[in-house]
């Protein structure tokens, strides 16, 4: 009897341990631990704005812009480093920032929309 309970307890503990381990793996992919920087970032385009307007990332990060507005927008750097096609609602554009620096960009269709990415 005791052996049975013990073995069930051990089994449960092992199972919980496994689940905990799996949960930790899952969490790692969704929420970075405090000492890690995310390698993928999303910038939302809506209401004629880039949100957030200023973004700071580590070199090697890929930024994906998503247009949630009901008019098309573009993502164009002022120094020629990147340029998207016209993005309709729900279209995306991604760019990987490998070099540190400040990258100002704007929407070439609505040039009052300006923003920047700082790469450290």
């Amino acid at each position: 009897m005791m052996k049975g309970i013990l073995s069930r307890t051990v089994l449960s503990a092992a199972l919980l341990g496994t689940l905990g381990w799996a949960a930790e793996i899952h969490a790692k992919n969704v929420t970075p631990a405090a000492d890690e920087k995310p390698s993928a970032i999303e910038i939302k385009i809506d209401n004629f704005s880039f949100m957030p307007q200023d973004t700071t990332v580590a070199a090697g990060t890929t930024i994906t812009w998503v247009n949630r507005d009901d008019v098309p927008h573009t993502v164009v750097s002022t120094n020629g480093k990147f340029k998207s096609k016209a993005l309709d609602t729900d279209d995306k554009f991604a760019f990987t920032f490998s070099e540190p620096g400040t990258y100002e960009y704007f929407c070439s269709v609505h040039p009052k929309m300006t923003a920047k990415v700082i790469v450290k």
């Binding site: 209401n47 009901d70 008019v71 002022t78 070439s108 269709v109």
Partner: protein
């Protein structure tokens, strides 16, 4: 709707009382015309019943229509069927007692510069009863290809990015492109080449030649915070300073706005597709959703009549629903040297 005239009537010397009386008839679709210093009004429905004499007097005059911002391809909440409302605008134009000599489209023909959208626009406009359509592109027409597709279809004979001029019954029309090569943080822009071309284009014209300029983005600072202006339009207007009558017709803002500055009248047209908010009344200038029954009061076409004999210009904005009181008017000044003798007290 901010469809009031924003000009300084006192400086122009227009008979205020007569003008205000005319404004009160605005809702009935009335055409107000300044003739020899006296305001005359014609109900749109009366024009059909005009006498032979009246009609003869109108002969030789120039009438055309401006449409704008058809945005073929747009299908969101503000108007899920922009082709249908464009067809309604065309029906309205076709119902005019006198067919316009031509139609100006001041840009944003399409929403996404797609070939299928240009096709649909082309097909839909075939139903319009007029001899010719002149176009200038909007920023939505030049996405992805620097306007190449637009120019191939609608810019034959134009220069540079698609600018050109033509003459009709003694009036000189100038079509400009201010939606290309836009700079970060900037407004619309004409650019050096186009400005040089404008200077050359009007150099030899007599100052008495009436001028009509048409371009997509407003050529005055209608609301710079939302990009509603053109960085270098002052230079273009400087080349037009010698002319007694300059009318600037724009689109882009999807509502009627007017301004008079000396000899220049600025006027923007409604869209045939969807309305946009008035300056500063919304976080951004995008498509504005309104109750379904209100939509057609905020979309429409603009009728322009030049009465050449008197050198006057009448601009009438007609909403699609035909019933609202948002028609607006502008009376241009006659030739400046005879102005003071024409106006009553």
């Amino acid at each position: 709707m901010g469809n009031f005239i924003k000009d300084n009537l006192n400086n122009d010397g227009v008979d205020r009382r007569g003008f205000l009386k005319c404004m009160a008839w605005a809702g009935t679709g009335t055409l107000c015309v300044l003739q020899g210093g006296v305001l005359k009004s014609f109900a749109m429905s009366d024009i059909a019943a005009m006498t032979k004499q009246d009609k003869a007097a109108m002969k030789g005059e120039l009438s055309f229509v401006q449409i704008s911002d058809s945005h073929i391809g747009f299908d969101k909440a503000a108007n899920p069927d922009v082709t249908a409302t464009l067809r309604e605008a065309i029906a309205k134009i076709n119902a005019l007692p006198q067919a316009p000599e031509f139609v100006l489209h001041t840009g944003d023909l399409t929403h996404l510069s797609k070939a299928s959208e240009f096709d649909t626009l082309d097909q839909t406009l075939k139903a319009m009863r007029t001899d010719k359509i002149f176009y200038v592109p909007g920023e939505h027409d030049v996405l992805n290809d620097n306007g190449q597709q637009y120019r191939e279809r609608f810019g034959k004979g134009s220069k540079g990015d698609g600018w050109y001029s033509f003459d009709q019954k003694g009036v000189h029309f100038i079509g400009l492109v201010n939606v290309m090569n836009l700079k970060a943080g900037g407004l619309g822009t004409l650019g050096h080449d186009q400005l040089e071309w404008i200077e050359d284009d009007v150099k030899h014209l007599k100052p008495s030649t009436p001028i009509v300029v048409f371009a997509h983005i407003p050529l005055w600072a209608a609301y710079p915070e939302w990009g509603w202006g053109t960085d270098d339009s002052a230079q273009a207007l400087a080349y037009l300073k010698k002319f007694g009558s300059v009318s600037v017709l724009n689109g882009h803002i999807h509502q009627v706005m007017q301004k008079v500055e000396g000899n220049v009248t600025f006027h923007t047209a409604m869209s045939t597709a969807f309305p946009q908010p008035q300056p500063g009344t919304a976080p951004s200038p995008g498509p504005m959703k309104v109750p379904a029954e209100k939509l057609r009061s905020l979309l429409g076409v603009t009728n322009v009549d030049f009465l050449r004999g008197k050198r006057t210009l009448a601009i009438v904005d007609s909403p699609l629903d035909g019933a609202s009181t948002t028609s607006s008017y502008h009376l241009s000044r006659p030739e400046s040297e005879s102005e003071s003798s024409l106006y009553g007290g």
